[in-house]
Amino acid sequence: MTEVSMTVNGKAVKADVPDNTLLVQYIREHLRLTGTHVGCDTSQCGACVVHVDGKAMKSCTMLAAAADGAEVTTIEGIADNDLHPMQTAFKENHGLQCGFCTPGMIMTATDMVKRYQADGLELTEDAIRHELEGNICRCTGYHNIVKAIADGASKMTSA
């Protein structure tokens, strides 16, 4: 067993967990934050993406112990109230159908926008498609996800 303590969505949490507990298991099963999903076992699908110290990470590839002391944000903690501009953009552009990939998409998208904005780079459609390499959606064919992220990026700038 290992003791892990971290901040999740602004709240300090602490627990004794088996050494091999993945961050995603800790989030889903111990903290009962079930918005973070598991869609694969080979680190390919991105359903599990959360932010660890401000960076998008696949929580299925990281031990909970490795996030000891970190600031973790999950889909449940992304907006202060109501919806984050990226969440609004997904809704307005019909960027989700079954919703299973959606939390991971939103966490990847907000990270992507922040990185491009920090680097002063233009987030083109090609760039968005390329950046989504680690996120699989089976429902939407990506058309509206790409549109939503572009729209979310401008909403985040003006917000």
Binding site: T42, Q44, H94, H143
Partner: protein, 786 residues
């Protein structure tokens, strides 16, 4: 009316998904739940000599290790196929026994022989690995053609030669005669590659037996919870229907693969009774590849004949359909009534004959996957039409147009009666949107850069809105395929609609609401859609075959008719007017031509107070309808794909993908376009990326996302989606259905485009860069030799 039929209403269900508050099966935790881990065969075909669970049973946290002998000993029945296909010779199909836990033989890699129930998932998995199974390995076979060869290993005793059934449709002799007299014949061998459906949410189940009530509750990832309950009860004898509640909460995509009742759900229910614990199982992705029903896997030969005016005179097809190791729930219907009945396509063809050999192999069971049979028919026909146009030296658009069905109703030789359509308009619209006339200039421009451009058509038609109960009953279906709805007006005037359809991404909470909003002029926020729980919803046949609009919404429509009629009676009584003069609009119930009116909510209240109702009327305002469709519906359209191939690498870029669809009435264009996008993505995936691969020992080599190429954002284009609708005469809303069209229509368009670009028609799906490159080399070698 901004929220009624035809409006681009944003989805009501989005908020919970966006906030991470969706409630999927694996998110649910029952008090004191235990976890199931299955012991699965690593061999494709083997006798099970013995199972030794003694080590596993002694491990930490292990509650029980259960096997197939115990399961069958407790009277749990075999898994069945619900559609009885009759063979050419009049005999029934050869269905082999399928026990949820295999007893003396395993027939595919992943076939479960035992289950471990333990306090934690880790403990369950560790103990499952400690279960010792002694297998005697048998020779295995993965391909249908090999399974039919003499000397192939026999998979089920009662299916000699591994033939599940040998079935035919259409007339053989007239078709042969017509082809005999044809001026031109085109012949092809066509393979439809095997696919894994891959909804992003893996399957999951959590079963709870309540000994005090003798009652079971099952949360599961199902597209049709009532069908699951019916089958679990009537065939698998897990519990009688009134003692079994099935709930399919939020479900993360299905695409067909969550229609069926799998061994894992049956086992969890039974194990819950055995252990007196809630039992939970969630598939991981590898398990999903190994156990979720696969799709497609047809090998066909086809022959089409034309007269001297290029009119089709006949079509003859033989198909070998791989059904895998066992017959899944709808598996027999897919390569027969959902496939060969669509072989007439959009064309006037007087003579069609098709025979199908359905075959057992040592692979995962094959069943309906988005489109189910219709993509296989469309691919075959649209590939051979394009090929024929090339051989005849005529424009593929023109050859199709010349053969279009133009008057309706139209009876095909393969038992379908098309009710409506305007194929030429769809084709024209697609050609305009794709700037077809400018293509040769674009091809030349690409050539100047050393690139190869190609363009391909696909004119699909499909049958959905499944289906008239008596008709499918006469064809062997074990169930009726109607749908039910209950419309409950509350005393305050808000409305709940309980539907037997199930939404797992389709947006029913929004579109169904729009139909109600339209009827009474109510805001959509006053309407709630309830689905997915057998304790709440009266009954339902679920969502597949693009049936939720044409069948599910028609049931709602009919129930609304009854509610409207009763509301009018109440209002007429209260307002002292004639029923015929009552109109309901904008949330008001009015006497036409007067200022007499009551609010919708006042009618609701009057119905429930019962203080002032017409003589003899029962209180309340709640109506139910069971709607049985009168025919299939026939969505159709024209898809055009333009590609650019890099001859040095074989890499294909999709330059544009245009769709022009006829879906009949559209409730919400935003949602319909989304369905088309997703369908096209899956079709492009099939055409260029996806393939389930088995080796010679029937080991699945593509059982993870490292090996199975799922389409990603970078692989796909934006889609140019258009509609040209004709109303469907068969249902009250005029709807045809849109859920599968994209996946049905797109693969041939892609392959027709690539083969056009490379000048070699010999190319199979998925058209990976290495295959395209090899086909290009073969084409240039052939050219050099000529």
């Amino acid at each position: 009316m901004t929220e009624g039929i035809g409006a681009r209403v944003l989805r009501k269900e989005d908020k919970r998904f966006l906030m991470g508050k969706g409630r999927y099966t694996d998110d649910i935790v029952e008090p004191n739940q235990a976890y199931a881990a299955f012991v699965r065969s690593p061999y494709a075909h083997a006798e099970v000599k013995s199972i030794d669970a003694s080590a596993a049973e002694g491990m930490d946290g292990v509650v029980a290790v259960l096997n197939g002998e115990q399961l069958t000993g407790d009277g749990i029945g075999n898994i069945i196929c619900g559609w009885a296909v009759t063979q050419k010779d009049g005999s029934g199909m050869n269905m082999g026994a399928w026990s949820a836990l295999a007893t003396n033989k395993v027939r595919y890699v992943g076939d479960a022989v035992a289950v471990v129930i333990a306090d934690s998932i880790e403990q369950a998995r560790n103990a499952a690995e400690a279960v010792e199974v002694d297998y005697k390995i048998l020779p295995a076979v993965a391909q249908s053609v090999d399974a039919l060869a003499s000397g192939a290993p026999e998979i089920h005793e009662n299916a000699p030669g591994n033939v599940v059934f040998d079935w035919e449709i259409g007339e053989l002799a007239p078709t042969d005669a017509a082809l005999e007299g044809a001026a031109h014949i085109t012949e092809m061998e066509i393979t439809n590659n095997r696919l894994a459906p891959n909804p992003m949410e893996p399957r999951s189940a959590i079963a709870t037996f309540n000994a005090a009530e003798d009652h079971y509750t099952l949360y599961t990832t199902s597209q049709n919870p009532h069908v699951a309950r019916l089958v679990l009860s009537a065939f698998y004898q897990v519990a009688p229907e009134h003692k079994l509640r099935v709930i399919a909460p939020d479900v993360g995509g299905g695409f067909g693969s969550k229609i069926y009742i799998y061994p894992e759900e049956i086992t969890c229910l039974w194990a819950s009774m055995k252990t007196n614990r809630s039992v939970k199982w969630t598939s991981d992705r590898t398990e999903a590849f190994l156990t979720d029903a696969h799709g497609r896997d047809h090998v066909s030969t086809a022959k089409i004949g034309f007269d001297k005016d290029h009119k089709i005179v006949g079509l003859k097809v033989n198909t070998k359909a791989n059904l895998g190791a066992y017959m899944s729930l709808f598996s027999s219907a897919v390569p027969t009534y959902l496939y060969a009945t669509l072989l007439s396509g959009q064309y006037n063809i007087s003579n069609i004959y098709c025979d199908v050999q359905a075959v057992y192999t040592n692979t995962v069971p094959v069943d309906a996957y988005r489109g189910a049979g219709r993509p296989e028919a469309c691919y075959l026909l649209e590939r051979i039409m394009e090929t024929a146009a090339r051989e005849l030296g005529v424009s593929p658009a023109e050859l199709r147009r010349k053969n279009f069905v133009t008057s309706f109703p139209h009876e095909t030789p393969v038992i379908m009666t098309y009710d409506s359509g305007d194929f030429a308009t769809n084709q024209e619209q697609a050609m305009t949107a794709a700037d077809f006339d400018g293509f040769e200039a674009r091809r030349a421009e690409a050539a100047s850069r050393g690139k190869l451009r190609g363009i391909g058509f696909s004119n699909y038609i499909e049958a959905c809105g499944i289906a008239p109960s008596a008709a499918v009953g006469s064809l062997g279906a074990g169930v009726g395929l109607w749908e039910s709805a209950e419309v409950r007006v509350n005393p305050v005037g808000t409305i709940e609609v309980l539907t037997g359809s199930h939404s797992h991404g389709q947006g029913h909470e929004t579109t169904f609401t729009q139909v109600v909003a339209e009827r009474f002029g109510l805001p959509t926020e006053n309407i709630q859609i309830v689905h997915g729980d057998t304790d709440k919803v009266q009954f339902g046949m679920g969502t597949y075959g693009s049936r939720s609009g044409a069948v599910g919404m028609s049931a709602i429509f009919k129930a609304l008719d009854k509610v409207e009629a009763k509301a009018k009676k109440i209002a007429a009584h209260v307002l002292e007017a004639s029923e015929d003069d009552i109109v309901i609009e904008g949330g008001e119930v009015k006497v036409a031509g007067t200022d007499k009116t009551m609010g919708w909510h006042e009618v609701g209240l009057a119905a429930y107070t019962g203080h002032n109702l017409p003589e003899g009327m029962e209180p309340g305002l709640k109506e139910t309808s069971f709607y049985d469709p009168t025919n299939f519906t026939f969505p159709a359209g024209c898809y055009i794909c333009e590609v650019e191939v890099d001859p040095d690498t074989g890499v294909t870029d999709i330059i544009q993908f245009v769709a022009s669809d006829d879906f009949g009435t559209i409730i919400n264009p935003m949602i319909v376009e989304g369905q088309v996008h997703g369908g096209i993505a899956q079709g492009i995936g099939q055409a260029m990326l996806e393939n389930v691969v088995y080796d010679d020992d029937a080991q699945q080599l593509s059982a993870s996302y490292m090996d199975y190429a799922m389409p990603r954002a970078d692989d796909l284009p934006n889609y140019s989606v258009h509609h040209a609708s004709t109303e469907c005469p068969g249902n009250p809303l005029g709807m045809k259905g849109c859920g599968e069209a994209g996946a049905i229509g797109s693969p041939p368009a892609v392959i027709n485009a690539i083969t056009d670009a490379i000048g070699n028609n010999d190319l199979s799906m998925p058209a990976t860069p290495s295959k395209v490159w090899a086909a290009l080399q073969a084409a240039s070698a052939k050219q050099a030799a000529e």
